[in-house]
């Protein structure tokens, strides 16, 4: 009796594991299919670029406050922590390089992508999920207007354009925050702060790699947000779950991709 119960439990567990796995693979396929369809239907976005510009405003410009404030504090903390360690080795002038490299190579793209997923990604998912729930996408389809070219593609390109710019702004404001802590507050020499940064930050190895990362994160975060919204069950619960999934999946994908990209760039 007990053995058969354990056996039934085990079978149920395996069945659940299998169905979850199939579901994940199916979603990956569906997401890739949407990505492909979106790329094919992107012509409209470039012909009527104002559609993309409008979305850049909603995803990019509206995220400016959270990005700027976070960047400022991240930069200040970096300077404080960096100085604390560097002074032990008598190289506190290198604080500028440390702040700049940390921001340009890693924190700028990664933290911007995480904040973007939370601020703009959730908004995209909820908007598209609700458009689906209120039959707006079906109405568009019935008007012979493809929702993929009219709704999905402009938002995708807007995200891909906005995220690298936001990441660049993040790095810039972060460096400014670091400067304010290091130079006026702690008293590191201003000349040393900037000249060391200028001498040791490499255009291709540091800045360009950071830009590549932020473009890849832009593609990943926006596509995840769009797919979750497009695939959400058209109910209140469905949209709320999709919004949560956007943040969770985007965050994990960004961190994993960051590791992969960094290992390619460093090796």
């Amino acid at each position: 009796m007990i053995r058969s119960k354990i056996l039934i439990g085990l079978v149920r567990f395996l069945r659940k594991l299998g169905s979850d796995f199939i579901d994940k693979v199916w979603r990956l396929g569906a997401g890739t299919r949407l990505f492909g369809l979106m790329l094919i239907s992107s012509g409209e976005s470039f012909r009527r670029f104002r559609l993309v510009v409008r979305e850049v405003y909603f995803t990019g410009v509206m995220s400016l406050v959270i990005i700027s404030v976070s960047a400022f504090f991240v930069g200040m903390v970096l300077a404080l922590q960096g100085y604390n360690t560097l002074q032990k080795y008598g190289s506190s002038e290198a604080i500028g390089v440390l702040v700049a490299l940390a921001l340009v190579r890693e924190l700028g793209p990664v933290v911007t992508a995480l904040l973007f997923a939370g601020r703009a990604g959730t908004a995209i998912t909820a908007e598209i999920g609700l458009m689906k729930a209120t039959e707006q996408l079906a109405a568009m389809e019935m008007m012979a207007v493809s929702p993929i070219s009219r709704v999905i593609a402009p938002r995708f390109w807007a995200g891909v354009i906005a995220l690298p710019i936001l990441a660049a702004l993040f790095s810039m404001i972060g460096i400014l925050g670091g400067y304010l802590v290091a130079v006026p507050l702690i008293g590191v020499d201003s000349g040393a702060f900037w000249s060391q940064m200028q001498a040791n930050v490499d255009w291709q190895f540091d800045i360009l790699n950071g830009v590549i990362k932020s473009i890849v994160f832009g593609v990943a975060c926006t596509m995840i947000a769009l797919f979750e919204g497009y695939d959400a069950p058209p109910t209140a619960e469905g949209v709320s779950r999709a919004t949560t999934r956007t943040v969770v999946t985007s965050s994990l994908v960004v961190l994993a991709l960051d590791f992969v990209l960094t290992s390619f760039m460093i090796v």
């Binding site: 609700l130 458009m131 707006q136 109405a139 389809e141 019935m142 008007m143 009219r150």
Partner: protein
Amino acid sequence: MTQNIVEIDNLSFGYKNRTLHKGISMSFSRGKVVAIMGGSGSGKTTLLRLIGGQFKPTAGEVRVAGQVVHQQNREGIYKLRRKMGMLFQQGALFTDLSVYDNVAFPMRELTDLPESMIHDLVLMKLNAVGLRGAYSLMPTELSGGMARRVALARAIALDPDIMMYDEPFAGLDPISMAVICDLIRTLNDALGITSIVVTHDVEETFSFADYIYFVADGVVAAEGTPEDLRQSTLPFIHQFVHGEKDGPVPFHYPAADYKLDLLG
């Protein structure tokens, strides 16, 4: 030119584990208002989606203007849809666009008309539904009935040959209901279109429809003019038309024995 603009021939359709339609045949004559009636969940709205090519039938076919819908490629389906207008149950207005922009949407997306002409056309369409004065409002500022009328103006924006209405009276007050009722008939006759109305409101439908199909259990249970159906002695039609609580459609959802459920 065939007499029927839309023909449904022996159509079957179902979702994964549920069959909705089992061999339905209907025809919709040009210039007529035809209603499809039936209880909730009988697959009436799905029929509209099948006509619009959003779903593929499992058997049989839907022909619009002589062309089999599900055999068309994407371009072909979009071409057919340009002949159709559809009013969704809750209007489905684009919430980020004003009333004016909602009505202008299909014109801007599907034609190369200059903005000045679009302006005139939008105001004409809005005037036809009595809402020219509301052109600058946002969808959130509209009542249910007004939203439905704006959606109607948007649906007729490109002068379709076929208008499909999905539960146009659901959740409306009697005045808005009468307005929509009147608009369906007037637009049909004035624009010379064919209207397909999916509904379960008996009195309103009987007042304006030329022909009615009753759908039940996945088949056409009855069809005819409103007068024919009022006289019908078929038990289901009688129960539906007279709104009787119990009959062929039972009041209780199938359940285990009541006594057994309560006393265990």
